[in-house]
Symmetry: D2
Subunit: 299 residues, 4 copies
């Protein structure tokens, strides 16, 4: 990959003179014209963007050490390869559970050590980036923060993989430009994640927009994964939409799973059981094969 | 299937007294509680809703006898099983080409006789229903007419299969209730078609909403197919979204295809070539197999 | 105004050769370049598009002769100048009340004779156009039928004023092109009506889009009115949004009003009382004055 | 107003036990049941929420000391009472002008001293809050940051007035809950601002949603203002939509104005000239009077 040292001069709010973008397209660093080959992001040994489909799974919120360790074992047995779990939760209401914070990160780390699974967790505060870099293998930027530019710049300074979720009403172009903020800081390990948009739907919480997958893959070299849990808000649709995501070219999935979804503190209605996850993984292995990709199931 | 003669009393605008719906759900006749088994609609020998994936293909507009016959041969060779072609075109502007009318229907019929493919074509005027019933094997109600109740009632009086497309901003419930208008007339041969909604997208013409597939299939016994051509408005996305549609459970597809898409009078940007269609069919046969369905390719 | 006999050749689906639009813009007949001066539509003595603000009011559905006559008297006393009432109701479900039909039209006519108010009522079936022309002074095309082209053409053949409501997800351009279908038939007495779009809102039934008013008035010579009842779906918002509509340049309003809103068979939650209407009319008279328009209150 | 010291225990991510909200509604502190009387926020002598309509005006970006001082004089002469100007700009692309930063704040302060106008400017980085508190009289939280919870909490710790803009696809409930984050920190000087949502519109950049004004004012005691510049993205619609905003009950406006809009570095197409602003203010004074509010024009 070419270096882009001239990008270091990205505008930081100190001069009115316009910067000429270093490459032609509106989203130079994320574009196929900057880098024709597919980017493969390595998350502590698990690749995203290569032949293997990456499946991240786990609870919405880390609730206790026992909970996250048990779930880690179960999603690993199901065939998932990366453990997700929220320690800092962005909640619509200030009165809802906001996550266990650093305590949660410790539990996540413990589950990772116990199972060997790499981990991903969300950052919502610029001041927590360093902490999360210490504990987790991949940093998640949630939908609400897709245009939180100081946060994008901060994770752009790290060399950790970053999962960037699409904003609820972001166009594809805005999504790519948000990724550009991270890459412009020198961190090229960015994974894009479609997670549902706010549409006309009143029947579902969100409208998972799978069109984003082939659209983005035409335009960017970055891996694209899909979140069918938030994307639909409905556990019963997760298996079908997971299969569809892989069929249209997604490089992976991030799925909310729990041994007992109804016990989840948050997102219970969109969380599937780890038993269902095991079934989904079997279906995905067939669909992956049909489209020239691979899901390796545990023996 | 149970009969529903009590439905014949559907309100026709002549009395203020409220009719008690004959069954409990809001959409009684289309619901799974009315009929638990999957409805299979037979279009002149080709089934929609069974194990076989039904692929309808053809040009947006029928332009000449040569054009539709040539396309019919080519889509048949590619593996599609039903021929689509518009004779009456609902156009946003009155100054755009409105279709060949009955002349087009004659060409469509000729192509059907020549290739043995059953046909589908759109009706936009209540006064043309009889004509279309005579010439085609399946009547299409387009998005703009999803809530054209007199038209729904009129096709409900026929015993022809009806393909009902979802309105551009229709909720799933409204979509099912539109189908209810047709079934309430006694015509139970209804196929639902997701064709893209108007969303936040400015990057694409429409947002194909595949969530509709598993959502509807949970609630209704009617077959559900997908239109990736109108749904995305972009030919390059059609292959990927076709695969995704089958992977999430769609019973079929309706695809705009032409031997030379750029020559199409209408919808050129979303029409794939018949050569691409042949490639798509091969991919679909693999995906269908992966999800327990079947696409039979010609030898 | 220039005649446009060359428009008579509007395409009716019989030839593939493209018709050159007679004027440059995409929506030639509705554009300001076709006619620079404001069109004033006369509905049996009440003008829409001139200095006077036209207020159409009445029940969603005509329920009985007593009901519509009583409401007619009350909305007249409040200061409204045109009586609205539905006889043919387009209902999402076939099991909901569909209107009294011709019986309702008779009651509407009786109320008109009794009070001297001109009337407006919706047509949903092409076969009812003649009937409605006989009974009412203005034909309403509802949102669901904004792109029902045969119906647009049919009312385009009459010389009755037509109120065309914007579709739930129609762009402004599509709205103007729908009006073009009517005008192309030779009927230039078209009034546009903004009635709320389907948006992200889950708090309200629809999103009244007042931006449509100044946007359309820049581009077209046709009068533009606003329906705050359907536009918001909430009676409590009707007074404020009515004032706003006039303030941004609307030529009138169409408001659902009933002496006892909770008794309405349909649309109860968005119907204001005739007592509230009287209060709204007083407020409107002040706002109208502030923007150089006029609302004349009864003494 | 009652104190709410029990709110200090707002959850900060350190415990899994759910906090009982101190009041009944979902958005306790912002609700009318918490405080029945209208909140009036004082921005250095100019009130928002009282009888007087507050008009904030100025350029999108502060470009130079001369520019902001000249604009300050001109908007004051037009009748605006608060000066707006961006020093830290949240830009979709990292390659676009990001604002002058602290240098811009100095120019804004200079313009304030010269004209006596209080000022408002946007904060996008939690680390700049202190700086902005020092230089400006009101802190703006932009749409992209409506759910940037650490930033909301940070401005909640200050005692400066905060203008909170609605997110591009935020429901009214989510908007109120975002304000709740600020108030929960003890800062009750919050002003809500409707600024346009992302809708079906392709004709306009955004859809200004004036329904938000009466809806919010029913539910909250906080002042509500409107941004017709971003809300429409079209300078020609600003006068009409400004009048409509006041007519439906808005407590003020925030308008992008420049002596020469086409020279603006950013947002040129939605910026009105200061000459137009003077005309708008005259129109607003009449509409304000019509609805029992007041705009005092300079002599």
């Amino acid at each position: 990959m070419s270096t882009h040292s001239n990008i270091a001069s990205i505008k930081t709010g100190r001069s009115a003179s316009a910067l000429t973008p270093p490459h032609k397209p509106d989203h130079p660093l994320t574009s196929r014209s900057y880098k024709a080959t597919q980017t493969v992001v390595d998350i502590n040994g698990v690749t995203v963007g290569g032949k293997d489909i990456a499946v991240m799974a786990g609870p919405c919120s880390i609730e206790s050490e026992e909970q996250i360790i048990r779930i880690a074992h179960e999603i690993k047995a199901a065939g998932a390869t990366i453990l997700r779990g929220g320690a800092f939760k962005p909640r619509t209401s200030p009165y809802d559970f906001q996550g266990l914070g650093e305590e949660g990160l410790e539990y996540l780390k413990a589950a990772s050590i116990e199972t060997g699974l790499p981990t991903i967790t969300e950052v919502i505060d610029i001041q927590d980036v360093e902490l999360i870099v210490e504990y987790a293998d991949c940093i998640q930027i949630g939908s609400r923060n897709m245009q939180n530019y100081p946060l994008l710049r901060e994770v752009g300074k790290t060399r950790k993989p970053v999962l960037l979720k699409r904003g609820l009403s972001a166009t594809y172009s805005e999504f790519l430009l948000a990724a550009e903020y991270i890459m412009a800081g020198g961190n090229e390990r960015v994974i894009l994640c479609e997670r549902g948009i706010r549409g006309i739907s009143t029947d579902l919480r969100f409208t998972l927009d799978l069109n984003a997958v082939p659209y983005l893959k035409e335009r960017t070299h970055l891996p694209v994964i899909v979140d069918p849990s938030h994307g639909t808000g409905a556990a019963s649709l997760v298996p079908a939409m997971s299969r569809a995501a892989i069929a249209c070219g997604a490089d992976g999935l991030i799925i909310e799973a729990h041994y007992s979804p109804t016990e989840s503190i948050s997102d219970a209605s969109q969380t599937i059981s780890t038993a269902t996850l095991a079934q989904v993984m079997k279906e995905l292995s067939k669909v992956a094969l049909a489209v020239g990709r691979r899901v390796t199931l545990p023996k």
